[in-house]
Homo-oligomer: 358 residues x 2
């Protein structure tokens, strides 16, 4: 049995961002009141998309520093500063950026109405009341954050990387404008796009399955193949397809398998960004996913992307121990691929060899 929570509505197509004003003022479901724009700091240097945001005097634009993965402390700080600057709650939060920014927007929205600290809501169904009305504007395709019911945060005090998994973590509306992903650097575009490919293929290779999740995952993979194996991954048609693949991959996000736990280890211990960390994690996993591993290499080749190598040789024994600990903790996805005895297969020695081979 699978409960699926959907984004209320989307507007999809090249130039969709130009319709944001219409959505904010002309849609009776969107609350009045100040709009807070949380925008990836990447856009601080690009005026064109920012000029399309219909800002008024009472609205605020805040750049989100996405140098590191989003943290609970960053969410606490952002919510406090929004509340202080407005002297109350905004009517709407618009998150514009990649997965990190979208996750920040969702978490700040939840925290503003629920009070307390972001870390209070890391886990399953802990958010008590709906957040501030939220609109997502993805500028990078692949994470699925735009349609998922989570926002992943790292608590650097406790070392816990965990999402606010909640129906209230779903955006109310999305503006899906494939023109916004035209300026993404090619490597980042590839690494992030592959996030969809990995989480969908992990789902389809897992033991716990669901018909709806499978259907979405299959179609998302089909679209990834069109994007990365047929022509330029960043031409207009491919950008549209990648945006839809990400949407579908996130819409019914299933349980994952081996890539995501190892990737999470890399992010926690080394601070590696999620998309790149997935690609690193997939490197030594050919024996577990032979067909998908070959396809992943073919995709990189077709797009002229050099995959990272040499990380393993640089790791200290202490780092390897930490990497083991922060990967093996993800019991649910590991058991989804290997069964409950996953610790007997992924022994510390075996895991060390995998990390050394990256």
């Amino acid at each position: 049995m699978k409960a699926i929570r959907n984004v209320g509505s989307y507007l999809f197509g090249p130039g969709a961002l130009g319709r944001l004003e219409e959505v904010l003022r002309g849609d009776s479901r969107v609350p009045a009141g100040p709009v807070v724009y949380l925008v990836d700091h990447f856009f601080a240097g690009f005026r064109a998309p920012l000029d399309k945001l219909p800002q008024r005097a009472q609205d605020r634009l805040v750049f989100i520093d996405t140098t590191h993965e989003p943290s609970t402390g960053q969410v606490d700080q952002m919510a406090a500063s929004v509340r202080q600057e407005l002297g109350g709650l905004p009517g709407v939060i618009v998150g514009m950026g990649g997965g990190a920014t979208l996750d920040m927007a969702k978490a700040v929205s939840n925290l503003l109405t629920n009070g307390g600290q972001a870390s209070d809501y890391q886990g399953w169904d802990l958010v008590r009341v709906p957040g501030v009305y939220k609109i997502g504007v993805p500028t990078l395709s692949g994470t699925g954050s735009e349609t998922s019911r989570t926002c992943v945060l790292t608590n650097y005090e406790t070392g816990v990387k965990l999402g606010m998994n909640s129906d209230f973590s779903v955006f109310d509306q999305l503006i899906l404008d494939p023109e916004l992903t035209a300026t993404v650097p090619r490597e980042q575009y590839f690494h992030t796009g592959l996030d969809t490919y990995f989480h969908c293929m992990e789902t389809l290779n897992g033991r716990t399955r669901n018909g709806i999740v499978d259907a979405y995952s299959e179609k998302a993979i089909d679209l990834c193949r069109q994007v990365f194996l047929q022509g330029d991954m960043q031409d207009q048609q491919s950008r549209e397809n990648m945006m839809i693949a990400s949407l579908m991959g996130g819409a019914a996000a299933g349980n994952t398998g081996l890539v995501h736990p190892l990737s999470a280890g890399l992010s926690v211990v080394l601070g590696t960004h999620h998309g790149l960390a997935n690609c690193l994690a997939m490197g030594p996993l050919a024996e577990f996913y032979p067909a998908e591993h070959a396809e992943f290499l073919a995709m990189a080749r077709a797009q002229g992307i050099s995959l990272p190598s040499g990380l393993g040789a640089s790791l200290s024994d202490e780092q390897i121990e930490k990497l083991y600990a922060s990967s093996i903790v993800h019991a649910k996805p590991l058991a989804n691929h290997l069964g409950e005895g996953f610790r007997d297969i992924l022994t510390p020695a075996r895991m060390a060899a995998l990390f050394r081979a990256m």
Copy 2:
């Protein structure tokens, strides 16, 4: 540019209906207050599903007569009787049945809060305020009503067959239980399932296209092929797949082509049910959809379904004239397939020949 409105959330899986009580009482988004169950009269003879409805003293169960396609008069009457019997508005409307019942539930929900008559809201975005909170429980797969933003009604006084196209015509939640489609008579199961196949293939053969709609349509067709060309269309796996195909087909329902306009003519003039009318309409359309026509015949053959024939010979000249008039009026889908000059191609004589060949 495409605006898509989604159902808030689904619960999917065999036995999902057993979780309805939990949804009604345990989900903070579901309003309190009496529940009105609008149930297809087909179920009057089957206690098992009805016994799963968590009825309390203040709730009401009403059977919907689906002998004919839903009418505006029927909606007016149903809304008045609900209001009178409860002395006010219900908290929730649960629609349980095929497309006709689901459409009735959506229309009654809209009318109860918007006032006036059902015919006031036939058209695009005429519904002013959200309807009563509505939960859909499909018991037949294929129409896509469960995820669409319309509810199609015939006004028998004016002869207009038109939907309440509105964001407010979308269900708030769905209970998707593939066990409920196990008892559907085989012919009806086939005709209704093919509705998804037809509207998706019409969309994909149309001139106005959209990436999201295409992706949903392609996956829905892929699932229809699994259902109708591989094994028994009504075994458990196929019932699950058909439910998902219908969901996806309805989720991004696009503009149609030639089948639906001719089918609408048959429904208006002869009262033919929508699923059967589509199959009749496809009969003489091999020259317009050669590959899909062959696939449609192969699907019927694989499932041992006899397609209807001989209708054309029984039609009077007056009926042929009426069929022409009530089909050619659907300019948007006809132009989607044939361009703005569709009337020069589908002349009265050509259309008469098509209907005569059914």
